[in-house]
Structures are given as C-alpha cells and as structure tokens.
Amino acid sequence: MLSTSRPSRFELLMTKSMRAWHLILFIALGVSLAPWTFAAGAHTPQSVQQQYLCNQNKYLRNSRGDMRGGQAVALPELVIVLAPEVRGGPLPRRFPKGSGLVRLEPHAHSPHSLTPGFFTAADPQTSFDGARILFAGQNAADSAWQIWEMNVDGTSVRQVTHCADDCLKPAYLPRGEIVFTAASQGPHDSQLWVCKADGSNSHPITFGPGDFQVETVLQNGAIIASARSPLVPSRGLPADRHLYTLRPDGSGLATLRCDHQHPALRSQAQELADGAVIFVKAPLGSRNQGGDLTWIRRGALHNSPLMAAPVLTSSPKPINAGELLVARESTTSARAVKKLTLYAFDTANGTFGAPVYEDPKLSSVEAIPVAAHEAPRWYWSTLNPELHRGYFVCMDTHLADSFPHQRIAAKITRVRVLTLDSTRQTETSLGEAPVEEDGSFYIAVPPDQPVRFEVLDAAGRVIRAQRSWIWSRSGEEHGCVGCHEDRSVAPENRWPLALRRFDTPTLLLGSQQKAAGSKH
C-alpha cells in the first residue's frame, strides 16, 4: 500500500541514501525486536494485541520532515491507539480486546507497544513536561476501565483511579490534578471527576443527568465537556450531544455555543493554537466513533465544517499551527467495519495530506504528540463548602437567543426552580422567586444539585422552560445574562434591580431550608 500511495511531502524530502539507511535500520530493528515481541506475547493473553507488532506497519513518520518557510521541521514522536475496531456508543465499548497504545518514534521503524499487559487501552494524554502518558485501560475482560499513568517509554505503569465502574477519558489539569470521566450504573450516567495525580482526593465536578464526558482542557483553564441535550430523548430519538465549558472546580457550567437547530452528536473536541475549537460532529444514532470534522473558528458564533465533502473522521489532534493529525476512514479498506488511518490535515485548506501511519488490519486513532507543552491556566476556586448553598443571579430573563430580536416579549414576573430528586429521579419544585421589572432575579439553591428554571408571567403561565439541568456549587455565584442568552452579546451595563433589593437572594433551599429555618 505504501508503494501505491502518492509520495507524501515528507517522503519527498528523503534522499535515496537516507532511505537505504532506514531500510537497513528497519531490518536490524525488526530482527532485534522480534524475540522481545514474542516473549511479551507469551505472558499476555492478548495475542491479538501483540499481533499488530508483527504486521508490516506503514509507519511513514520516520521519513517525514515538514517544510515551513524552507526549513524542515521534524514532527514529534507520537503515541497512538491501535485497535481492531473503533465503535460508537458508550465509552467503555469503544475499544475492544486487543486495542492498545503504541509509540511511534522518529528513528525506530516499528511501533513500540506501551500497554502489552492490558486487555485494552485507549485515551492517551501526554503530561505537560512530555515525560508521562495518562491513559485509560482495562486489565482484564471483566475488570473496570481505570485511569493509569506511565512513562512515555511504557515503564513505571501505575494505576491512578480505583473506580467501581468504568473510568475513562482522562486529561491533565495544571498543578498536579487530573480530570476524568466516571461512568456510572446510576441514573446520572457518566460524570466528570477530578483527583490528584496519585488518585487521592477524588471528587465529582458535574452534578446533573446528561452523561458528561471529558473532551479537552482549554488553554484558559476551562474544561470542555460533552453532554446530552436535552435531558430526555424526545420522539424516540437519542438526544443531541453538546459541548459545554466548566471550571475544574465544577463551577460556571455554560454551553460553548448553542446549535440546537442542528441535532448531532458532538465530541472529541480540541483547541487549536489560535483559539478555534475543533470537534467531530456525527448524525444522531451514528454507530461510528467518528463523523465530520467541524470547527468553531475564533470569534465565530456558529460552527462550520472543515471539509468540503464529508469523510468519516475521528480523534483530531493539533500538532503544529494549522496542522492536525486526524484518523479517517481508510481509502484502501474494503472491509465492512470501518478502518481508520492516521492522516495529516491542513486546517487552512481543509485538505488531508499523506497518511502518517497505516496498519493493514488495525485502526490507528487518538494520536498524541509525545512532547512537552504549555500547561493551561490554573484557577483560584471561589467555592465555599461551608456555605451549603449556591447562587444564581440573572441579569435579564427576557433575553433569549431563539426569540425575535433575542428577546421574550411577554412580561416575566416570576421564576420557578425545579430540581431532580436524587433517589426517585422525579422533578420537584424548590419554589418560586420574583423577577424584577428589568428581568433580573437572584436566588440561593442547594449546592451540587441539578436545577432548571421556568419563567412565568403574571398569570403563572410558563413562558419558557429550560430543558437542561445546571447547578451551582457551594459558594458559587453563577451569573447568567439571560434565559438561554446569546453568547455573542455582552449584557448592558446596569445595576440589576434584584441586587438592589434587601430581601434577596430568595432562598429556595428545599429540605435544607426547612431544616435551617428561613434565615438568610
């Protein structure tokens, strides 16, 4: 396949003598690695996992050099996931037996398995110093997925989490913390959890139904998560998945952008160097772990496709300014099961380059550069666990992006706050609070509890109902501009009437309020 493919721009940089040397090295390394490979296979039950090391892989990376301004720039070492199959659906089922992490080194001519002892492994992330890899893996078929960390050469593997259920999709946070996705058999599906690098102080940071999953950590320190929206599938269709941002302490949950007019599954988000966010958008009900490459360019309110024609793509990862590594449906595979191959992708032109790595049998996905990179900004948390309440302050409930002129014409007088009973999974009302003439309200609610709002007119009619759950953490003062505000409009500069009252915040604390009396 290599010989039939068009020479990449990287290959063209190679001289014939370099090719000859690489061939010699390839053979020598293959001979030297063969006993080790088979020895490794002897003490692991995952024979399929080992098999890919014996395949004639198409590791094109060793010959590449990227021409930028006339100067050849070597691409970094990579860690990728090789998998017999990459499935859509629930996170724990994406990578079947035999999936694992391999390292592609610039001067070695075969991939080096990093997770030979695992039943399956995926979701690699490089530490900020480029020395370690965080990943999710299953020890055995009947064990739960856990978060693990190892050196980039595969040594010193250690288990970070000890989850009862599956824990996957981790990401490094600054100052020695990790965020990961904890699947649950409970009604709230998966949630985001944060722990120290040694696994201690593990705690959830999302608190609503929605099947929250970690996507990435932005350079400004916010986490992008994906979650179901709306909460309850309607008309028998599976719900959308949207992208949200929140802080590592679980505060400030907000939609990254609203795109409700276009139902889709949005996932695998990454931030580009210029602040654009790239993600994969798949149709509802898709069984593939992939979709169309889509981005929200910096400053844009809406997302747009990155490619002229739809191609099944997965796990985009920025490697250089304007360049991604993307797993895409292999052009040479005739198999019914989609096989994914790693390609370079030019974001400026929306075009694929030559394949970067191709395995004849296995899919190659989730490539990450093994290199030091800048840590995101860290946050000072303003939460106060002692307070046992969180706050919402809304500047103007009349502002709503889906209404004409982004404004609800009806006069809103009250807001009703609904919560979800954690045991019965039924909605109950925490009560109502007044909405001021200027549309503002200020309330206190129980912390870490999913809530949603209904705004009412004077007759008590529901003018607009929120369809997803949010929360306020203890001590959090969660500010909203409007009722599903438009991200593109900053609020007016005014002193909200709700903050001029002396009887606000209105306490809507439910059972906590009854226990504590009605003191502010």
Partner: protein, 650 residues
C-alpha cells in the same frame, strides 16, 4: 468608642514607655542587621537599583514624504528620527519631561512635542533636529495638532481638562476650551474645519449610572466649540483617525466597562469589552456639524478579548484601518468595507455589545511588542509602523501580506529590570480570564478610571467602591476601601487573581516585578502649588482651616474630627486606618473606610468610598450634614473654598 479614638488612646499609653523603647533600640537594630540577610522577604520597595534609561516610545508620526518616522520617547525624554529605508535612528533631540504627543507642521519643517509633566511643547526644527522654542501650555499636555495653515497649535491639556489654542507666531496661548475629563488625543479633520479632542475619563456623573464619554469638536475657523459628541457606556477614548474619503467617518478606540453589574461576570466574559466608536456625519455634513451619528462596535471576539485599544490609523487608500490593543500586544487589521457592511446590518445600538462583529471585519490579528500604543501608515499604504512602548521597538507590518515584516530595535537598554518587567505585567491582560482586562485597563496612566465598581463582597450588589489612583501609593498601606489588604502583595497577589482576574494571576517572580513597578509609580508635580512652595493667600487661609482646633464660634473641635488627625501630613495625609465619616449608604455593609491619601487629590475625583461626591466641595456641602467628616457646618462658602484651595496643594 470609634476606632479612631481607640487608636489615639493607645498612642497615649505608648508614650509613657518611650524611654524603655529607646533603650531597646540599639539591641533591636543589631538583631535586625543580623537577621536581615537570613530572612529578607521579597520587598520590592527596598530593591531599587538605578533604572537604566529606557526609551519608551509612545507616539509616532511620519514625515510627509514617508522617509522618516518621528518617535516620541517618554522614557528618555526625546524625539527620534528614524530613517525608514535604513531603519536606523538618524537624529535625536532632548525635549521636556514625560513627552507624550507629536505634531508635524504642514510644511514638514517643524515638530511639536508635548511634555506632559513640564506643561510645555517643544518646538523642534527638523533640519537641525534641535529645540527652537519651548511653548507654555495648560497642565498635562498630551495630544496636539496644528491647523492647516500651521499658524495655530491645538493642545489637549489632560490635567487641566481643556484644549489650548496657541498662536505659533507669538508662541502664546490665545484661547482655552473647557473639556470634560482628561482630554488626551486630538485630530485635525481632513478638510481642516474641525479639531476633535477625545477624553480619557468619562463625565463625572451618578455612580449608579453607566459612564458617558465625550468627543469634543472645535470649529477651527470660528474657534468655538462646534459640538460635544456623547459616547454613552464608554470610557478611555484614545487616538482618533478619520477615514480618507471626503466627509469620512471617525474611529475612536474605547473601552466599554460593565462596572454596574456584579464582577462575578468575569467568569462568563463581558466585564470589560473593547471596541471603537464610529462617528459618522449626518448626510451632506461633516463630522462636527449637528447630527453626527455614533455607533459603537466591539473589536473583541467571543471568549477572546483585546484589551487596551489605543492607536488607530487608516491606510491612505481607506481600505484598511489598524487598531492596536496596548494591553493585548496585538494589532487588528480591519477591512473597512466589511466594517461598513456590519454597520449597515446593525443600525441600532445593539452593535455596541455584539461580540461576533469583529470576526466579520477583522482580517488579521498580529502580535506586536509590549504595549503597542501608536500606529502610523506609510503614504503608499504598504507598511504600518507600531510603537511598542515597553519594548523600545517599532514593529513593521507588511500590509500587502498582512504579516509582521520586521521589528526595529530603537536602541534602548537590553537589560529588563524588575520595574520594567513589572510595568509590562501591569499592561498584560493575559493574566485575566479570556484576556478581558489588565491592571492598566482600570488604571489608565496608572491612575484611575473614574468609575465605582461592584467588587466581590459578602453579597452581590452591595459595597460599590470608587476606583483609586495608584500614583504614589507606596507608603499608604493598607489598601482597598475596607483597609483589609495590609500591603500591595496581598492586594495584587491571590486576591486579584481569585476575585478580579478569575484566573491564575501572577506567579511569585511576576508579582515581585509588578509590585516593584507599583511601588514606584510617581506622583505628578502639583500644578496648584507654586514652584517655590509658597502658598497663595487663599491657600494659606485654607491651611489654617485644615489645622484649626476651634470652630468659628470658638468651640473646641474634638481631635478625631480635625482634618489633620485623619489626614496627617507626615504620612501622605492619611492616618492609614479606617474610620467612619457616615458616608455609608444603604448598600454598604460596613461604614468604616480606609482614609485615602490626599496627594494630588484634585486629580482623583469622584470622591468618597463610592464616588458619590463628584467634587471636593460636594464632600462637605452634600455629604457632611452631620459634621462627621470634619466640622464644616460653621464654615462660610469662602472658608470652604479656601480649604479646597489648600487641599489642592497637597
């Protein structure tokens, strides 16, 4: 007993032990010497090696043929001539203190450089590159421009809140126009009929209402005020540029603060937006004739902010405009056709808050050096030059390719001292969540923005506090209106990161640098005090009132209610404690406020903790009905005037 009384009683007790303390003094000094090296904390106040003389290029303009770029250097008090072919500095002239502005005479033979701290303009002969004359101006001259004939010079006096007309033949001021606060930049219209003056600070107004700024229009023929164009919701109007077409529009960079809403909004963005006013003339008129239309449009992107918009210029062909973001170290290149399209799309006021506008007309954002303040474009529209104030460099933009072509080192010191780095930190919005603002955004010129803010408090909507100056604050601790921050490290460390920037903030080294800068922000010279320190008769009378111990009727004024008790001269006229002058409103949770220093108090309006008093006089005529802020009810109008005259000398 008030805290002030308590303090005084404690002081009284201490005096009896004075002799004992004297005995201990040598021993204490010895201990201090021994331990000073072991336990010396970071103390930027004591780490003050002599600063090298940085150039600090603040303003640039081209010679009419484009062969030379003139650069005003605030740091080494000079104006440079840069050969644009060789990119070398070919001439230098020393000017006055803190030069800020630059004008080129219509014949190109003379430069005028404003010296903000000398209250003068240096007239520089281009041929010899030497100062021919020094012209007297109003207080704090910054922006300046000649009329088309080159006979009259218009100078914005930032501290005097005025624009001076100077007859260049005689070198004397012939007229002065009153402006609103801190006029800094001026521009002569292309048709020569108007001079525009932009105000840095907004009108003094109710502290619970949005700010309003002003663009003053002067008729150059009649030499009268033609129009006062109000720009609502905005502060910090900076440079002005006029589109090159006849009857073209103006662009004035500005800031749109959200000071009335709770500051928690920083978490979601939007607390400080940055954009520009587009001032368009009414049909068949020019800007300045009645009916100019103002539309504000933001230069920020959703989730990404470009703080400190400052310099602006159109390309001579009018197709592009460039705006520098001095606290984001960025220049934005605007497509003016797309800008016009955007203005047509949103004719109303909505555009002022829309964050998706810039994406429609900004064709490129390019990095600059630190603190890009001024931009000038060559007559052929090919190159843009940008002064990087805190880098001693000029960035050259290739406008054909929209990329940085080169950076010219103007030859400043290579060593970056703590203080210099600190000033760079002060102007760096990257420490704030999404880059919404820098220290300098709320403290332009290291001073204040004239607004009251709803900072973090036990409850949202309470405890609004007026911004305070950072000039000369080194020995005025504690900080913050509630006096809770004992030093600047507390004020600017985690607290600012947690509650203002809502981000990581400064690391230890950065904080040390920032504090070094902040501890050394100088006070400007006092314009109300004669150079020899001699007080006028009114000031002398006011001084007597300031130190008086008896009312007009001979009653003893209790010590705690005398001016000099809370405002002692030896500590910058602050007792450095909190006290209650019953300025507390229903929205304040506490009535005890830090006593502010009074150095250059005439520049610090509005007054009181929440900025309710718009003038010094109002402190007593409106907000001291119970004689709790000193005994003033017995004073005549003349006495109060005298007191204020004295206060202005501090």
């Amino acid at each position: 007993m008030s805290s002030l009384r308590l303090l005084h009683s404690q002081r009284g007790n201490r005096t009896s032990y004075r002799g004992f303390y004297f005995c201990l003094l040598p021993f204490a000094l010895c201990l201090l010497t021994c331990f000073s090296e072991m336990a010396a904390p970071i103390n930027p106040q004591s780490a003050e090696p002599a600063e090298p003389e940085y150039l600090t290029p603040v303003e640039i303009k081209f010679a009419s043929d484009g062969k030379k770029l003139y650069v005003v250097c605030e740091g080494n008090e000079s104006v440079l001539a840069l050969d644009t072919q060789t990119r070398q500095v070919v001439a230098k002239a020393k000017v006055g203190h803190k030069p800020r502005g630059l004008a080129v005479s219509p014949d190109g033979k003379t430069l005028y450089v404003s010296n903000e701290w000398s209250d003068t303009v240096s007239e520089v002969d281009v041929a010899t590159f030497s100062v021919k004359r020094t012209l007297k101006t109003g207080w704090g001259p910054v922006g300046l421009v000649t009329d088309r004939t080159g006979k009259t010079l218009y100078v914005a006096n930032s501290i005097a809140d005025s624009v001076s007309l100077i007859d260049l033949a005689s070198g004397t001021e012939i007229k002065r126009f009153t402006t609103h606060r801190y006029p800094e930049q001026v521009l002569l219209s292309r048709d020569g009929r108007c001079v525009y003056a932009a105000n840095l600070l907004p009108h003094l107004g109710p502290y619970d209402q949005p700010p309003v700024s002003e663009l003053l229009v002067l008729d150059t023929n009649k030499q009268v005020v033609a129009e006062r164009i109000l720009i609502p919701g905005a502060i910090e109007l900076r440079h002005i540029a006029e589109a090159p077409l006849q009857g073209g529009y103006l662009i004035v960079p500005l800031v749109r603060p959200k000071n009335l809403g709770p500051l928690i909004q920083v978490n979601q963005g939007w607390t400080m937006t940055h954009g520009m006013a587009v001032v368009r003339p009414a049909p068949n008129t020019s800007v300045g004739e009645a009916g100019s239309k103002v539309t504000q449009v933001l230069l920020d992107d959703i989730d990404y902010y470009f703080a400190g918009n400052d310099g602006v210029a159109f390309t001579p062909d009018g197709r592009r405009a460039l705006v520098t973001s001095s606290d984001a170290d960025t220049v934005s290149i605007l497509d003016t056709a797309h800008l016009a399209q955007r203005l047509r799309q949103y004719p109303g006021e909505e555009l002022a808050n829309r964050l998706d506008s810039a994406a429609t007309f900004v064709v490129k954002r390019l990095p600059t050096g630190h603190n890009p303040t001024s931009v000038a474009i060559t007559p052929d529209s090919r190159w843009a030059y940008i002064s990087n104030r805190l880098d001693d460099s000029v960035t050259i933009i290739d406008l054909a390719q929209s990329k940085v072509a080169a950076t010219i080192d103007l030859g400043g010191p290579k060593e970056i001292t703590l203080m210099r780095r600190g000033e760079q930190m002060f102007h760096a919005a990257k420490y704030c969540y999404q880059g919404q603002f820098a220290c300098a955004t709320c403290h332009p010129n290291s001073h204040l923005d004239g607004l009251a803010w709803n900072l973090e408090t036990p409850q949202l909507g309470r405890d609004r506090v007026a911004n305070r100056t950072l000039r000369g604050i080194r020995e005025t601790a504690p900080y913050k209106w509630n006096g809770h921050n004992p030093d600047l490290a507390t004020q600017c460390g985690p607290r600012i990161a947690k509650f203002l920037f809502r981000s990581e903030g400064f690391n230890t080294a950065e904080l040390e640098a920032l504090l070094t800068y902040m501890n050394n922000i100088p006070l400007p010279a006092n314009r109300h005090l004669a150079p020899d320190g001699q007080l006028t008769e009114a000031q002398e009378r006011g001084k007597t009132i300031f130190y008086r111990q008896y009312t007009n009727s001979g009653q003893v004024i209790p010590a705690e209610n005398r001016c000099d008790t809370c405002h002692p001269a030896e500590t910058h006229y602050t007792a450095r404690i909190s006290t209650d002058v019953t300025s507390k409103t229903e929205y304040d949770t506490n009535g005890m406020f830090d006593i502010p220093q009074l150095d250059r108090v005439y520049e610090d309006a509005p007054y009181l903790h929440n900025g309710e008093a718009l003038t010094l006089e109002e402190i007593w005529t409106v907000f001291n009905n119970k004689d709790t802020h000193g005994i003033t009810s017995d004073m005549s109008k003349e006495q109060l005037n005298d007191l204020i005259e004295f206060l202005k000398t501090l």
